[in-house]
Symmetry: C2
Subunit: 267 residues, 2 copies
């Protein structure tokens, strides 16, 4: 494995761009190839077989075509379902957005009351509950679906009064439960962090999986001696279906810090 | 064709339930079979070939299994793309949500400045512009995408302050253009009609395709001597994929005025 090759990142669509942004910030000397599977977005309502199939095909494309040194699953749904089969199938390290969170909670035993916000599908799946209970059965979990957050973010309304109005409505019931920490259980939500911060008392820790994953990735690259040593770094974006929406969102989120967007058909 | 058979209605998902509600109100002595194609929702981002294929399969199912006396396309996208092939293929009358609108504008020559609200896809497709220009090339059209309206409606927030906030924001630029009429270019929007009405001056006519279509259907049944004469009427709902969301929405919109919801797989 060549340590100067890029890191491959994939997501069901554009939500994972916040993970890519956090990775770029933490690892400015690495190259990235990001695939947004815009042909199949959202993964939340697809079967497990379909999701494993998409994840395997996208990972194989990253390994075969771009010789990536590492695969990062930047999608909550695919992380929960596909990380195990991908780890079995591919020789390169496979990282996901959920595992690093697990390690964080193992270390922080003082976090007892946890709030989780996410989409209807994530909250309904109880994937975070199952994970946290397996670490500490005494933990108390309070979850809240925030279905308007994704459309608000995708329409670029994160600083509009509507974002404040809905944040207040969604977060207030959690704050009333005296939570110690709040998990942002959707890759879109870091974009609303400033607004969320205004409503959350400072003693409540906000847990952003993109940030935790990027620290974890840095550490992992170091341990495996995979840190890039070449001076030229780039970020390339690929999508599986043309989407003006994706292009616009990518420009905003990544502040134009990528070289191009191309359409691929790996299926 | 037996005039005592039900009327078949189909849509890509749950939006067409507002059309069904208007039909039930205008034609309380008719039976209905509604299919929501929840396996393929939304149609807006599918290819024309795929949409014609879905529409033909659903219509064949309504004709073969339920012997419907008429097919109604309750979806803007499918109406624009599939009405012609369905009319060629099926013997029963095929009605759609766009044609009756066309007849209205032919009669009302005093409507010169028209506002249209719809989803990003509908506004981008310019389907209403093309239709209206073909009737009167002097017409002036002002369109506005209202992407937050569908999630607001699907979350049952039509009476929440967020609905007022977004209505004000989306409608104000159209009102400033001195429009004579406003077309609700999405089957979800009639649910927001009360809120929209508050912001629209009374001299602006609000054009709701569900209402226009149901009057047109009544007239059509009369002309073709297809009006039901049997005393027992029912409404049955069918979906192509299980969806709690659909069930809940149907109960709210139709005020429980249907006998059951079943899952079918006609594909």
């Amino acid at each position: 494995m060549n340590k100067n090759m890029p890191i491959g990142v994939f997501d069901s669509g554009l939500g994972g761009l916040t993970v890519l942004r956090a990775l770029q910030k933490k690892l400015p000397n690495e190259s990235f190839i990001y695939i947004g599977d815009t042909a199949h977005v959202p993964y939340g309502n697809k079967s497990e077989t379909a999701i494993i199939n998409y994840a395997t095909t996208l990972s194989a494309f990253l390994v075969d075509m771009y010789k990536v040194k590492m695969i990062i699953i930047a999608c909550n749904t695919a992380s929960a379902i596909a990380v195990k089969p991908l780890k079995e199938y591919f020789k390169v390290p496979v990282l996901d957005v959920i595992t690093p969170m697990q390690k964080l909670f193992k270390k922080n035993n003082n976090i007892q009351r946890i709030g989780i916000i996410g989409t209807h599908n994530t909250i309904k799946s109880k994937s975070y509950e199952k994970l946290l209970f397996s670490l500490n059965p005494e933990i108390q979990i309070f979850s809240q679906a925030c279905p308007l957050f994704v459309p608000i973010i995708e329409e670029g309304l994160e600083n509009h009064p509507i974002a404040k109005l809905m944040s207040k409505e969604y977060l207030f019931p959690l704050i009333e439960q005296n939570i110690d920490a709040l998990i942002l259980g959707c890759t879109h939500y870091p974009i609303l962090k400033k607004t969320i911060n205004r409503f959350i008392p400072p003693e409540i820790e906000i847990i952003d999986s993109a940030e935790i994953l990027s620290s974890y990735t840095k550490q992992h690259l170091k341990q495996q001696e995979l840190t890039n040593s070449s001076p030229n770094v780039t970020t390339r974006l690929l999508v599986t279906d043309a989407s003006d929406h994706f292009n616009q969102f990518a420009r905003n989120i990544l502040n134009n810090n990528f070289c191009n967007i191309a359409i691929i058909n790996p299926f």
